[in-house]
């Protein structure tokens, strides 16, 4: 024990102490070594590792979508809006934290979103670490809400085993009225980019700013997370009146439906366009074209059927110079290569009213007269002798009535649309004045309407230094130069509003997402084209086009109960002699103090004889019959019994509630019984534009005409009648002759200018198709 104690009392020797110090030194050296290693790591790899650390952080920003602004009509009706939808995102890593989550979650996904459970499980097993996988896109709130309840603690259906699913906000564009105003609106692609129309032109306004949720490093390299909310886009209020737009589209559609597959397979016309404009402001009240499309589903191939096909370069396909196009059928669509299909979609989405150029035809005649009056070249009292043709620069240029209209005053020149008279007027005006005014009216200039895709027309009008007498003569009645519809109606509005050229526009107000007005877009007068007195004369002349029940070329455009003015147009297309026409009617109402203008263009109507402006007046008449009461214009004219029956029929299909017409209406109601017998007759008249019944119609009209002016029968009425069309046959040329105005079909007013290189060249370059 004692020894034990002694042993326990062993001393810690000097040698051991030395060794302990050595041990401490070794430890010290190890510490120094590690310290050096730390310093080296920081010094050599510090920056690289710092970047690594930062790049590993999930601070890569996520974007928060904005709500695209709405498009509203002038009355506040929503034409386009964006609706919040949800993308269903799967976070596989989160879900796979616990095996027990998988079954309930997958089952719930299958139940609520009709997803393929097997596919989800496959994905989970193949990508167990994925944190972002889009299971479903654009699910609406109604569908998402019950699933969100599953995940929200506190709700009745809460299930804690539903894990790893979240919802990402998104917006989809909706057009609640379907095809309404499609050409004006355009549409949006999936990523909220506007294409065509207002959506494209006002894309920047409608688009908001994407919000961001992001992490950033402050000056101390500390990670901060910040959310910048998205700024919603501004809304635009258009000048479009939804009701007028609906009326216009209804009758365009009706015209198309009645003429589809008529003379040829395909739509009722290659294109039908209609613009209504407030002549005192340049506000576009309605703008529509056919064929149309549904901006909710712009790639609906069924809308392409019946359209004239274009090739993969966007050029109209033609089998010969004489046909109006090859019309798309389902079989063609099935075999169509993608590139060509895309071009055809482009043709469909294009807004005919602003993008397509064509020779306007006789609608240009009031401009010729206005130019001459304004420059003092004529007084308006001149009378010209129309022999049916005029020899200009070695070419024989015909009038519509190849047999001559006799003595034609300036006013009658407009009324009956006499080419010869117009050529005399233009000759009196001279090239320099004519082209100066052409420019002043905006032909060859962009109208700058606030819509995407307006055509450039500076090369479609003839330059002053290149204009030959022949060009001047043909330009006088609207041939050999191209314009587009918006140009024409903007220019025409200035003719009838006292000479003020307003920039046509579609949007009158920009409103922020909170509803405050950001910008009011006021009407802009660009220039004075003619003097008010000239304007009054033009109104007077143009009124006769409709009011002259004997010779007025536009008399069929008059809506019952109203007097309007206007001018018809029947333009030949290139190549000459193809018997393809662009017919149009430019009208305005009321006749004495024009407030609104309406312009209808029917491009190559689907009828056997295309050179008939009635194809356009048919639409104008019906649109105005419904639109004028809606715009609160009182009826000024007496309504014949026939017209009343027509009205009754129309009112049954009216877009807007009919406004009471005062006593006439009342009287009509009382006599309703007695007028039933006349219903049939009225119906015929209502469909007088329908070519299937053309023969009956024209026979009837011929009879009417004969009754009205028995002694004053026209030359062509002595010719034989063609059984198929009801037209007369010219014994010399064997061409068909229109019974109403003596137009010789095929005996075109314009000679084929092919012999003259200059004219030919010009017309080639200006081809509107």
């Amino acid at each position: 024990m004692k020894q034990n104690a002694r042993v326990n009392k062993q001393k810690f020797t000097i040698g051991m102490k030395k060794k302990l110090v050595v041990l401490f030194v070794i430890v010290l050296l190890a510490f120094v070594g590690l310290g050096v290693r730390l310093i080296l790591i920081t010094k050599n790899n510090g920056e690289e590792y710092e970047k690594q650390v930062l790049s590993q952080q999930q601070y890569d920003s996520t974007t928060i979508p904005f709500r695209r602004g709405e498009i509203k009509d002038a009355n506040g009706t929503t034409l386009a809006y964006s609706e919040k939808v949800y993308n269903v995102i799967l976070d596989a890593k989160l879900l796979l934290r616990n095996e027990k989550y998988v079954d309930p979650t997958v089952n719930a996904l299958v139940k609520y979103f009709k997803l393929d459970g097997g596919a989800i499980r496959n994905y989970l097993s193949e990508h167990p670490t994925s944190q972002y996988y889009t299971l479903a896109k654009k699910i609406e709130y109604d569908q998402v809400a019950p699933f969100q309840d599953l995940m929200t603690p506190g709700t009745d259906t809460y299930d804690e085993n539903i894990q790893g699913v979240w919802f990402e906000d998104n917006y989809i564009r909706k057009y609640p009225n379907g095809t309404l105003a499609c050409d004006v609106l355009g549409f949006t692609t999936g990523d909220n980019i506007g294409t065509y129309g207002l959506e494209e032109y006002y894309n920047d306004t409608l688009s908001g700013t994407l919000g961001r949720e992001f992490g950033y490093l402050d000056e101390d390299s500390t990670l901060e997370r910040t959310t910048i909310p998205a700024t919603d886009g501004d809304s635009i209020v258009t000048t479009i009146d939804g009701n007028l737009q609906t009326i216009v589209e209804k009758y365009i559609k009706q015209y198309n439906d009645e003429h589809v597959d008529n003379a040829r397979k395909g739509n009722g016309a290659n294109n039908i366009g209609c613009i209504m404009m407030d002549v005192h402001t340049g506000d576009i009240l309605a703008m529509a074209s056919y064929p149309n499309f549904d901006p909710n589903d712009p790639r609906d191939t069924s809308k392409l059927i019946g359209m004239p096909a274009v090739d993969e370069k966007g050029k109209l396909i033609r089998e010969s110079d004489l046909d109006s196009g090859v019309y798309i059928t389902q079989e063609m669509l099935d075999e169509m290569p993608d590139e060509q299909l895309y071009q055809n979609y482009n043709a469909l989405w294009r807004n005919f009213c602003i993008t397509d150029t064509y020779e306007p035809g006789s609608v240009a005649k009031p401009f010729t007269v206005a130019t001459a009056l304004e420059t003092g070249s004529i007084t308006g009292e001149e009378v010209y002798n129309c022999t049916g043709k005029l020899d200009i620069g070695g070419w024989e240029i015909h009038c519509h009535n190849t047999y001559g209209d006799g003595m034609v005053s300036v006013e009658r020149g407009i009324t009956i649309s006499c080419n010869v008279a117009m050529m005399h007027v233009a000759q009196a005006t001279g090239v320099s004045n004519f082209t100066k005014f052409q420019k002043s009216f905006g032909f060859g200039l962009k109208s700058n309407v606030d819509l995407a895709g307006e055509a450039r027309t500076e090369n479609t009008v003839i330059k002053p230094e290149e204009m030959t007498p022949t060009d001047l003569a043909t330009n006088a009645f609207g041939q050999n130069f191209d314009c587009d519809m918006i140009e024409m109606i903007a220019a025409f509005s200035s003719l009838i509003n006292g000479g003020y050229y307003y920039e046509p526009h579609m949007v009158k107000k920009i409103v922020s997402s909170s509803g405050s007005t950001i910008k009011n877009i006021e009407p802009r007068i660009l220039r004075q084209t003619i003097s008010p007195s000239t304007s009054e004369k033009i109104i007077k002349y143009c009124n006769t086009v409709v009011s002259n029940t004997e010779e007025g070329t536009g008399k069929t455009a008059r809506p019952a109960g109203y007097m309007i003015g206007g001018k018809t147009g029947t333009a030949q297309t290139r190549p000459r002699g193809n018997r393809q026409y662009v017919v149009s009617f430019m009208g305005y109402a009321p006749a004495d103090h024009p407030d609104i203008a309406i312009y209808v263009v029917v491009d190559r109507p689907n009828v056997p004889m295309q050179d008939d402006a009635k194809n356009a007046t048919w639409i104008v008449k019906r649109v105005l019959t419904e639109a004028l009461p809606y715009l609160n214009y009182p009826m000024t004219e007496e309504i014949s019994e026939k017209e009343q029956a027509e009205l009754d029929e129309l009112r049954a299909n009216m877009v807007t509630p009919s406004t009471p017409n005062g006593q006439e209406e009342q009287a009509e109601g009382e006599n309703a019984e007695g007028e039933k017998a006349e219903g049939e007759n009225a119906e015929n008249t209502a469909e007088e534009g329908k070519t299937e019944e053309k023969k009956e119609d024209t026979d009837k009209q011929k009879n009417d005409k004969k009754e009205e002016k028995k002694d004053d029968s026209n030359i062509w009425e002595k010719f034989d009648v063609d059984e198929a069309t009801g037209y007369y046959i010219d014994p010399n040329t064997h061409n068909l002759v229109n019974p109403e105005n003596g137009n010789e079909i095929g005996g075109d007013v314009l000679p084929d200018f092919e012999g003259e290189p200059k004219a030919n060249e010009a017309s080639e370059g200006k081809s509107s198709e």
Binding site: F12, K19, L23, R37, L38, I39, T42, G46, Q52, D220
Partner: protein, 381 residues
């Protein structure tokens, strides 16, 4: 011996090494702060309680401080007397892991005693210090001959084998052997055999590493071998065994000189797995920079220096050996931990004493400090 005079207080029997206590308290407080800082984000995410790890560590620390005080009052010679029972008890605890072991994070290292998880390997570290000290005193003269030396190595080696065999905890096994070797190094004269042994170990490790590298693509690699490959090229194994090491390196590198500031670590947010455990030093580097890291290392150096002073002034050989054992334990663990974090050696699960999260470890380490305080109390007697 002059130093003793300097250190001796007027009341000679109650010398208390305040600087040691201060260092320990500082490290504990710092450790708790760092455990909270590193674990709160993940704890909140996984357990819904950001202070989960902090609270558990706090309880263990308090228990450890109580243990430290108790141990410091029990005369250390009593430990030597009961050295063998202590050795047996620790061995039994280790054996209990086989039937009652609890598996955490894929390793079966814990047993439950009265609702507390205990890591028997940690207890074995304490036991080996006491037992080896007693054994060396007993062998005294015989230590010089190979048989005696072998005996002194055999008992701790048995522990090491048990720890490695039962808990697959290589690092604890190495530490147990390391403690013994340090104690033997001090108690036997001469450097030759230690230098030879050290060189041969280095050579052996070198050969093994070369073999592992060359057989990289052959089958039969167990996971420790992959750790070696990950050590050589952590980026190539970034998605596997190298991930933790690489993330720790990123943390160190991104900290710079003064760090991102306390609590501002990004790497603790799910990138360094179990950052509050083995890799806590990397987060210290990231948050407090080189400055903080070196300060912590200096603190440890100060602690080791204090322990050396106590050992040098111990009243007898037993006391000195006990303190040397404690000093060896702490030195080895700190050096290995920092070496792992800096990818100087392959990744083995070694915690940083007093700082890393781990209940058993902090209690045992504080008990060891208590042992050292106990010896210090007897200085001058």
């Amino acid at each position: 011996m002059q130093r003793v005079g300097v250190l001796r207080k007027p009341k000679e029997e109650s010398y208390i090494d305040y600087s040691l206590i201060f260092i320990i308290l500082f490290l504990l407080a710092f450790g708790l702060v760092m455990v909270y800082s590193t674990s709160s984000y993940e704890a909140n995410l996984d357990l819904g309680d950001s202070s989960y790890y902090f609270r558990h560590q706090l309880v263990s620390t308090v228990i450890g401080l109580v243990a430290m005080m108790i141990v410091s009052y029990i005369p250390y010679r009593l430990f030597a007397k009961f050295a063998f029972p202590i050795y047996i008890a620790a061995a039994v605890l280790l054996l209990l892991v086989i039937p009652f072991g609890r598996t955490i994070n894929g390793a079966k290292r814990w047993i439950y005693i009265m609702g507390m998880s205990v890591q028997p390997a940690e207890v074995a570290k304490f036991a080996v210090i006491v037992f080896s000290a007693a054994l060396i005193i007993k062998l005294r003269k015989n230590l010089m001959n190979p048989k005696g030396y072998a005996t002194a190595l055999a008992f701790p080696a048995f522990y090491s084998l048990m720890v490695y065999g039962i808990t697959r905890n290589l690092s604890s096994a190495i530490i147990i052997m390391g403690i013994t070797v340090v104690m033997l190094f001090i108690s036997t004269p001469g450097y030759k055999r230690y230098i030879i042994a050290a060189l041969s170990v280095v050579a052996l490790v070198g050969v093994v590493v070369v073999i592992i590298v060359n057989s990289e693509h052959s089958s039969g690699m167990n996971y420790r071998f992959e750790r070696v490959l990950a050590w050589l090229d952590p980026k190539a194994h970034a998605s596997g065994k190298g991930f933790q090491t690489l993330q720790a390196l990123y943390a160190i590198g991104s900290g710079g000189i003064f760090g991102k500031g306390l609590g501002e670590s990004m790497q603790k947010m799910g990138f360094i797995p179990e950052a509050q455990n083995d890799m806590i030093f990397s987060v210290i580097c990231e948050e407090l920079g080189l400055f903080g890291a070196i300060a912590v290392m200096l603190m440890f150096l100060l602690l080791i220096w204090r322990l050396m002073i106590i050992a040098n002034n111990a009243p007898d050989m037993l006391g000195a050996l006990l303190v040397i054992g404690v000093m060896g334990h702490i030195s080895i663990q700190v050096i290995l931990n920092i070496a792992v974090v800096t990818n100087t050696i392959p990744n083995t699960g070694i915690t940083l004493p007093f700082i890393s999260y781990g209940g058993s470890a902090v209690i045992i380490q504080l008990a060891e400090v208590g042992l050292a305080l106990n010896v210090a109390r007897n200085i001058g007697r």
